[in-house]
């Protein structure tokens, strides 16, 4: 199998160098672009398997670049942003960015994000059961078991869990979850969302106060991760 190709669009040479080394040593092929113009050109001439896109580019706002890319490019785009910039992160996710990373990021985090997408685009989920640690979900029978004991989930809790699992490893914004589970008419249910997440955690997590499956992304949304 040929190596997956990742396009890095970031104006900082140091960050590009770091990403290049990290990704190359994890068996990805890396293409670099220092400006938005260069990035758009490279993406068009030879579409990569995934794009890492910095929001703060010198020649054009990363959000605009994202919108241009999304007109034709439908593979994963991960946004690189800085902390305290949730507003732009949410805007990017609403403009169909696949995920985000805040600088400074840890290498493990970066690779986990990339893996979540490359794996999912590789092997479409056809299995009817899926296991995370001591948690097992059977989509056919709609049964959720923890340590072989069947959990009593309400319809909403089950829908919420399925949505999170289907997007394992990816961040889902509050708004997106609300639209998917409650429907667009119920978009102001953000209070219920918090409560349902707390209830779901009590049922599926080993310690609801130290969640290992449903991770909160402060001010942005939630992410389901496979326990290590």
């Amino acid at each position: 199998m040929s190596k997956q190709e990742i396009l890095v669009i970031d104006d900082e040479a140091q960050i590009r160098k770091l990403l290049e080394i990290t990704l190359r040593n994890n068996d990805y092929k890396v293409v670099e672009a220092a400006t938005a113009t260069e990035g758009l050109l490279l993406a068009a001439s030879h579409p990569p398997d995934l794009i890492l896109l910095d929001i703060g580019l010198p020649d054009e706002n990363g959000l605009e670049v994202l919108k241009k890319l999304r007109q034709w490019y439908n593979k994963p785009i991960i946004i690189l942003s800085v902390q305290n910039d949730e507003e732009n992160i949410i805007k990017a996710l609403d403009s169909d960015a696949s995920d985000y990373l805040t600088k400074p990021f840890r290498t493990g985090e970066l690779l986990a994000r990339i893996r979540a997408f490359i794996r999912n685009s590789d092997t479409p989920q056809e299995t009817s059961t899926i296991t995370f640690g001591n948690l097992c979900i059977d989509f056919k029978t709609r049964l959720v078991k923890k340590d072989k004991e069947t959990l009593k989930l309400t319809a909403t809790e089950y829908a919420l869990l399925c949505l999170l699992i289907k997007n394992e490893g990816r961040v889902l914004t509050h708004q997106y979850i609300l639209n998917q589970v409650w429907g667009p008419a119920q978009a102001d249910q953000s209070q219920s969302l918090r409560v349902f997440i707390a209830q779901l955690r009590k049922k599926i997590e080993n310690d609801a106060n130290n969640p290992e499956l449903i991770i909160t992304e402060s001010r942005v949304g939630y992410r389901f991760v496979s326990p290590t």
Partner: protein, 360 residues
């Protein structure tokens, strides 16, 4: 102090008070005119104008001076009840009265301007010494991790072969620690400048305080190896509409502070409950508390306790105060009976009706 207070009077009130005082004094003089010569009255009126000049702005004083001259002429200089002046001596006196009143007003105003400038200079000097303190502690705080990174990488580059594996590991982990420490300082500095420039606007959304407290505990794992962090959130505490990012950072800073200054094996307790329409969060430690005479100052930017050891930028607590203030909340500091310090954050916030939805 008093001057500064009166200076803040709105212009309209300054005119009102000035004119009113002159009329009252003139009226008293008028009733006593049987005993007072009109020349004495001039001195009394001049005195009144001088006193007013100490408190009022230049234009109100000039108006008062003009008014008093006219009153003196009209009511006191014979022939009274008109503005006529019958002899040269009185004419000269009126002219001199007018000039003295005006000069008086102008001089007083000037003196006050000088005072203002002197005060500003003093303030500037204070700010300057504050910034020197800041630069000292900050440059220490920034340079230590930078030195570590440079030194460690130099070592790794130069002595690849000679260094023992375990030493390499130590150097690498020191680099990583130093970078995290730098990141923390930069975070604080950026937060401070966001607060200073007034761009901190809380984005309130429903927030599970229990989750937030455990999040802080989790983030501080690396620093709390020698301490115990206890979380004590009121049973069935409702959700609150707050800015999760800002309040998490606030609790983080308080707990971090407590971890740094509480002797090993101490306990830091985070408590949260609802009181009236407020969310109350407290962070209490088992350290030595704060010196009574410095408790007031700890929230000031760059303030560091007189006897505090090196480390810290003096920004953490002032950021907490800023973030809590952005929520229209308050923060209090007290020393508890057992000796430790206790910070209490009180935030007015909308609370959810309940935190559990039994029926869907």
């Amino acid at each position: 102090m008093e001057k500064a207070l009166l200076n803040k009077l709105p212009k309209a009130k300054q005119y009102l008070y000035g004119i009113f005082s002159v009329i009252i004094v003139a009226a008293i003089c008028y009733f006593l005119s049987a005993y007072l010569g009109y020349k004495i009255v001039a001195l009394v009126l001049l005195f009144t104008v001088s006193v007013l000049a100490m408190f009022l702005d230049i234009f109100p004083v000039l108006v008062v001076a003009l008014l008093s001259a006219l009153i003196w002429d009209f009511f006191f200089i014979p022939p009274t009840f008109n503005l006529l002046i019958s002899n040269t001596e009185d004419g000269l006196m009126f002219l001199m009265y007018f000039i003295i009143a005006m000069v008086n007003a102008a001089l007083n105003y000037k003196t006050r301007q000088w005072e203002k400038i002197a005060r500003k200079r003093e303030e500037k000097r204070n700010t300057l010494s504050l910034y020197n303190t800041l630069l000292n502690s900050l440059s220490h705080e920034l340079r230590t991790p930078i030195s570590t990174i440079i030194g460690a990488t130099d070592n790794l580059k130069a002595d690849k072969a000679k260094l023992q594996e375990e030493d390499k590991d130590v150097l690498v982990s020191e680099i990583s620690k130093a970078a995290l420490r730098l990141n923390g300082h930069v975070e604080n500095l950026l937060n401070m400048s966001r607060l200073e420039s007034g761009v901190v606007k809380p984005i309130r959304d429903w927030c599970d305080i229990n989750e937030l407290a455990y999040d802080v505990k989790h983030k501080l794992k690396e620093y709390s190896a020698n301490h115990n962090i206890k979380i004590n959130v009121q049973e069935n505490l409702p959700l609150f509409k707050i800015d999760a990012g800002l309040i998490t950072q606030s609790i983080y800073n308080l707990v971090y502070n407590a971890l740094i200054y509480t002797p090993a094996n101490g306990t830091i307790t985070i408590t949260a409950f609802k009181q009236d329409k407020n969310l109350v969060i407290t962070v209490e430690d088992t350290g030595n508390g704060f010196p009574e005479n410095e408790k007031e100052n700890v929230f000031e930017k760059f303030y560091r306790l007189k006897n505090s050891r090196t480390g810290g930028t003096g920004l953490g607590l002032s950021i907490v105060k800023g973030f809590v203030g952005a929520h229209y909340g308050t923060i209090l500091l007290e020393n508890v009976k057992t000796g430790g310090a206790k910070f209490t954050i009180i935030i007015p916030a909308e609370a959810s009706a309940t935190n559990s939805l039994k029926n869907e």
